[in-house]
Amino acid sequence: MHHIYCPYCEETREEEEYSYTGEAHIERPKDPASITDEAWGDYLFFRSNPRGIHHEMWFHAAGCRRYFNATRDTHSYQIHETYKMGELPTITAKTIAADTLAAQQGDAS
């Protein structure tokens, strides 16, 4: 059972209050008519499915009814951060890899 911080309610709430709504930062093509079937198909159906850091949308269904984003590890289920719609994550697979590398180098030195 996840325990998820809602950036609008500013509280950590039980998973029962939320529903998961898929990968975050999938933008609707600005002019659908002008793009190829393949590009449209990518937008419709194809999602990343990483083992590890994933940016995803959650809906606070039983709470404030706002959508927000979470940076979550799909393996450990650790939620690194949640952030409001329109904002960008501060933690990504890249930043974590960099942090890990820095830590290793720190150990080595």
């Binding site: 059972m1 996840h2 325990h3 609707r28 659908p32 937008y43 419709l44 009814r65 650790q78 719609m85």
Partner: protein, 999 residues
Amino acid sequence: MSQVNRLATGGRIDRAKPMSFTFNGKTYQGFDGDTLASAMLANGVGIVGRSFKYSRARGILGHGAEEPNALMQLHKGNATVPNPRATQVELFDGLTATSTNGWPNAEFDIMQWVGIIGGKLMPPGFYYKTFMAPQKMWMTYEKFIRKAAGFGKLSLEPDPDTYDKLNVHCDVMVVGAGPAGLAAALEAGRSGKRVIIVDEQNEFGGTLLGSKQTVDGVDAAAWAEQATSELAGMANVTAMPRTTAFGYYDHNFLCALERRTDHIGPVALAGTRQRVHRIRAHQVVLATGAIERPLVFGNNDLPGIMLANSVSTYINRYAVVPGQRCVVMTTNDSGYQTALDIQSAGRTVVAVVDSRHAPDGRLVEAAKVAGIQVMAGHGVIEAQGGKKVTGAIVAPLDEAGDKVTGAGKTLSCDLIAVAGGWSPVVHLSCHTGSRPVWQEDVAGFVPGPTIQNQHLAGAVAGEYGLSQALNAGIQAGATAAGTECAQVFNCGDESEGAAQALYLVPHTKPISRAPKQFVDFQNDVTAAGIELAAREGFQSIEHVKRYTAMGFGTDQGKTGNVNGMAIVAKALNKSIAETGTTIFRPAYTPVTFGAIGGRDIGVLLDPARHTAMHPWHVANGAEFENVGQWKRPWYFPQAGETMQQTLNRECLAVRNSVGMLDASTLGKIDIQGKDAREFLNRVYTNAWTKLAPGKCRYGLMLKEDGMIFDDGVTACLSDHHFLMTTTSGGAAAVLAWLELWHQTEWPELDVYFTSVTDQWATCSFAGPNSRKVLEKLCTDVDLSAEAMKFMDYREGTVAGIKSRIFRISFTGELSFEVNVPADQGHYMWQKLMEAGEEFGITPYGTESMHVLRAEKGFIIAGQDTDGSMTPYDCLMGWAVGKTKTFSFLGERSFTRPDTARADRKQLVGLKPKDPTVVIPEGSQIVMDPNQPIPMDMMGHVTSSYWSECLGHGIAMGTVKGGLARMGETVYCPLADGRVLAAEICSPVFYDPKGDHHHD
């Protein structure tokens, strides 16, 4: 029979409170404070059940959750409970228990001969290998296999008890109230934090209760009592005995089962029998202790072979010595404590057989001083006996414990206490996905790294000494509570000699020929079986587990796993760290389904939503249909009517005069804002730019893949204010959908959505006389056909109530919907019924509504569509705007090759060739009923009814390329052998020109 094994003094039992109980039909006596197991042992009960696969006689091995053998069938009739361990069942007067298997009984069991004769023939994978072919016989084999296998039985009657759940929250959750847990809870409790401490036993203390050690000079058990009473005095601490933390889930969420009345009687006299606590903790202290490992040697499953620590516990806590002449087999110092306990209880210790060649610890010396024979460098390689241990064959071993180095001799005994080292109880730590790690100095797996706020204290972390556990506990409590603590406990000299890791006691014969050496008692997994699995090529420990069933079932490998893993490692020439371990899953010990269900049963299983008019429907005999969570009137039968007669009457009333439907359940969304129109343009297929105030329009909502998602009528209340309706089941999903697009893609649009589904009660009345009914109650709106046209909306006063009036129709007849605030819905419904009485106004339900709309070919999103139908597939291209500037949701997908295919399944009308026939909904449609099976499926029937007004059956269905097949005949072969023929036609069966609703 008297309690032959009961000591005259000592123990934590109340001899003033004798209790009688029955086991397998015989009556015995025990005392308050006994477990069923301790009482059985006190009475000399040896065989408690038969083993799973070989039907071997089995006795009690342990004293707690680790017990693999003593699974009981408790109580009788509807209160019967399958499979609790006798070691965890508190005795009460009148308790009845039987073995869960053994036929005709556990004492004399026929299946054991199958086990003996077939034992060699039942290697791991036996069932897979033997019953593979022919495949069709599997169903037959399975019946017999299931009859022979398995444990307890459920009652088929309703459970007489109730169960519930609490959602609880705390700062610090402590699992286990042994020394480490008590110390942790004390420290966290003193800090003022909200603390919960649970323990599965009836009293707190764990090993302290059976210990002869002292804590800061106080007897261990007395210290436990002091600690428990201090905790009880703290308002911020919830202390729950008889409560098992059975699952540890993500983000510090735990579930614990509190057994509230199981110790009192078979059924709860008041309140709930068991309660699940759903605990969200900020910090978790696992102080779950360790389980002693049995030793693996020949016939090590005979009744009378017990864990040494359990023997000590029975003596010290329950005043029961389960034997007269005891051999202790040990690989470490703890077995010596058991030998001392047996001796001080006045029974004979034949010998302590120690696999170590030079044991020299404090307890070893104490045993020698007490005159106990110590056989160093020896092992019990085989037990002797039939239904009970009669002797132990003891032989010298090499230093590594790999080989028997000399002749064995037989020691006569009736109890073999085995001390094979300790396995930390890592189960809970595994539940969140953390993999245990092998720790060589502990000779066991300890909890691995985790992202939970988890702290370990005591034996679970390999800290086995009492002062170690207490000090680790108090520090864990401090860390979890965010405090600092300088307290240090002193428990006297606890020094121990080094232990030997011995996972399989060698025999003079090779493993495959030696007498069975059991690793997992509950699943009858032997060392030979594990070795065979390795020989057959299983390398992954997870595969070995599944092939041999080691660690399966209610047991979850509590006693057997580590020995098993070590045997696998050795067979594969790897280290235990390399082969690793399987992980444990919830539940730690089994949880009743009743507790999992809690109060979410019966009428509380799923909320039933009611409209304001619901009491009227009930009073007027409605039968109800579930639509989502709503209870909607399905039809209103009158005395003596069949359902079909009711539907015919209701439908004809609408077609000929007037009928009324409660349409309050339709989803309603209030939309306000200057960009509301633009938003509607984007989410609906059709255009909303020009819809004038006072007008309504039907809209289709698509997902981005172009498939119909929902539909409904939206009214323009004013230029910036709309009222959208959705299907009854789709309301929440549609609102979430609108919010999704507004919040994520188009936040710049000024629009707000508010659910008003519950705010408005809707009376929908239809039929040629519907206007006349409304005219009687409404005088401030011109309802004439000229003034209020089809798809018009007005505000007005109906029966004195300010109402929203819509002229819309789902029946094809002249029809109005009056919406009033739901507080007045029941009143309005009655006023309309009164006003309509002169026209024979007839309440109708969802079934007639379905017939009426199907006669008109109107779809029901979710019935005639299934998420794979475009508007064009449903002949609803008319509802798609062709010149909209914004590419509305789903539009782009119309030109995807798959969406544009001509042979897609398309919705068509189906007219049965035999007019008396109603084709069953869901029937498959084929073109040629005589083709061989599997037939080429062309589609299926989505809606089908008897139309009384047309005098024949009507149906709608999807057919591949159906729109190009008008007039063709299709067939529906039914399961009963009938083949129904139908003609593909327009789905509009009634009033195709639409004259009626425009009247």
